[in-house]
């Protein structure tokens, strides 16, 4: 069984150890020769180009993804050519297009922030007027890590986007107390496993830290699991699904974003869960029985490495991190330091949350 992964980022890279373990073959279609996942067997090509993707797919048994950027016509053509595409185009559309996502979640009766499609300055002004003069404007497509998202207090602040021909939506600026993420995995047969709910700490729209399990989960964890399982089942997701959630002051959860692939909020699972999200994703897309999602430690904390050391000396930073925290897992993605870039992450686990967080942050600090 050979898995083809479209996209050569760190998510594809971290699928490699899972393929090694399970005895699955893996091949990556990477955008560049020096892509993070180029440690695996790979081809280099444009992941949006029909012929490139079709040719790649002919050499593998199932196609899955490192990212959501493969256009729908390409996905459709893959299906028509008889390729097993997991997740499939229809499910993926809800992760590619925020308008589509909001419509489907509404149809499922799941809790989401107030939202509307906006096609004009007048549309946005109406939404602002109805929501206390503040809104989050999002491009329906192409956004990630805070890109394609803008908090506005006047319609003019989105005028440039509105002048273009890009589908936009406005959402209420949710007054949340924290952000959570719920992951599930689903097989083609419908078999589904649920990971523990986690808390994610965002900085500047980018995930900075994840705590697993989310402290004070309780009833919220049950609700998050129900939401994610419903989405995976009703949308027919195959593979990992991450549901990013807001927890509000009154203890409700609202769905923020979806991702149908391994997700930054699940990197903790490499060390912290019996089955990592990367292995689980491969099991699901290869239609193999899913693995246990049990916690391996009472607490696991993952800290992203963003940007890398100011002096650019990544080797030196790694050495310091390993030397100061011999029990912390240091993951580097084979990427050169650059401001804001996710170049790796570190994970610590143990029985005392304060100690675990301290150790993870201490290792991460070596990369500042």
């Amino acid at each position: 069984m050979k898995i083809g992964v479209i996209g050569g980022g760190q998510l594809a890279r971290m699928m490699v150890p899972a393929a090694v373990k399970l005895g699955l073959e893996i091949e990556v279609l990477a955008e560049t020769a020096d892509a993070s996942a180029s440690i695996a067997p790979h081809r280099v090509g444009d992941t949006r180009d029909l012929d490139t993707v079709l040719a790649f797919a002919r050499g593998v048994d199932v196609v899955t993804f490192d990212h959501e950027h493969v256009p729908q016509p390409v996905l459709q053509a893959l299906v028509e050519a008889g390729t097993a595409v997991r997740p499939g185009p229809e499910a993926l559309l809800a992760a590619q297009d925020k308008l589509e996502m909001r419509r489907r979640l509404d149809a499922l009766g799941l809790p989401v922030p107030d939202w509307t499609h906006i096609g004009s300055v007048a549309d946005l002004q109406r939404f602002l007027d109805a929501h206390g003069g503040i809104a989050v404007v999002k491009t329906a497509r192409g956004g990630y890590d805070g890109k394609g998202v803008r908090v506005v207090r006047a319609a003019a602040e989105a005028e440039d986007w509105l002048a273009g021909d890009i589908p936009l939506l406005a959402e209420e600026a949710v007054r949340f107390t924290r952000e959570l993420a719920q992951q599930v995995a689903r097989r083609p047969s419908g078999e589904l496993v649920v990971y523990p709910l986690v808390e994610s700490v965002q900085r500047d729209g980018v995930c900075a830290e994840v705590i697993a399990p989310a402290p004070r989960g309780g009833r919220v964890a049950q609700e998050a699991a129900r939401i994610a399982a419903t989405i995976a089942t009703e949308l027919g997701v195959v593979g990992m699904l991450a549901v990013e959630l807001f927890e509000t002051e009154d203890g409700q959860v609202l769905v923020n974003e979806l991702a149908m692939r391994p997700h930054n909020s699940g990197h903790w699972s490499i060390e912290g869960a019996t089955t990592s999200q990367f292995e689980q994703h491969l099991r699901a897309v290869a239609d193999l029985p899913l693995g246990s999602t049990e916690l391996r430690d009472p607490w696991t904390v993952m800290v992203n490495l963003l940007g890398g050391p100011a002096d650019g000396r990544l080797d030196r930073a790694r050495e310091i991190a390993l030397a100061t925290q011999p029990g912390v897992a240091v993951h580097l993605y084979g990427k050169a330091p650059r401001p804001g870039r996710k170049i790796g992450h570190v994970t610590a686990g143990g029985a005392d949350l304060d100690d675990v967080a301290y150790r993870a942050r201490s290792a991460a600090a070596a990369f500042d």
Copy 2:
């Protein structure tokens, strides 16, 4: 930093996830194009051929090994060419040549079975007479997994070997109560870490199961750690060192074999220790700070998959193993089933040894 691994077996294969994690580049010199480690960037060539190995080494920063079969003249030439060879030729000689190993351990005053070099039938007969009419005859070089080892009760039983021009030794047939294995890792600087002592269960001269930590370790564990640390330090080993030991009826330990690389007795550490033996080996040979060797579970049991399913349907066996034991780690090496061949292993962990062993054996049984 690019690690070159000579030999394309499952040990090289299992170094790949560690390289992915640490952000190290890796390249393998594999004996065949379909080698177990061919999932990594690799070249195919004869690992005993001087020019092949020299050319391979020019493209990497440090050379290490999947096996002990690179001839000493090739190792020496690598060193002369300025290659960082870890472990170095002098240390490796003690893992390549059992006569050399016995001599060095004697010189260090470490406990070993009675042994002697034998060059003739008369030599062997004298040894048999002095040891109750039973001895273990071993070829000094090239043996592994029970090959090159013969239990004899008459000198005639080794006549074919003695007629050849191969160096042989005779050892007392130790009446041991169990076999143990002690792993340590050592950096070029001398920094050394010690893994928990494990018990290994052998069948037909091949490792069948490993229990970590060894039950009833106690004083024996201290002695095993002292022996392995002494060998690593005094022989100047860089990387992982495995010391296979006999525990005798009177509670002594005797050194049986050495391996200077990741070893079957350490596969449990992928899930069962904070730092796996494969990551530890890469850290050591890349001269990076060593990682914690702490246990992640009270008990970890590893069971080897030998031969594979009788019907040859490896995919089906994997499916059954994953379905029946969702919490057991299943590792497959990308090798076709063949009688006696190590095609993978499974690992279970938890608080109750009986339950852990049951789960590991249950998953392994799917491959019978």
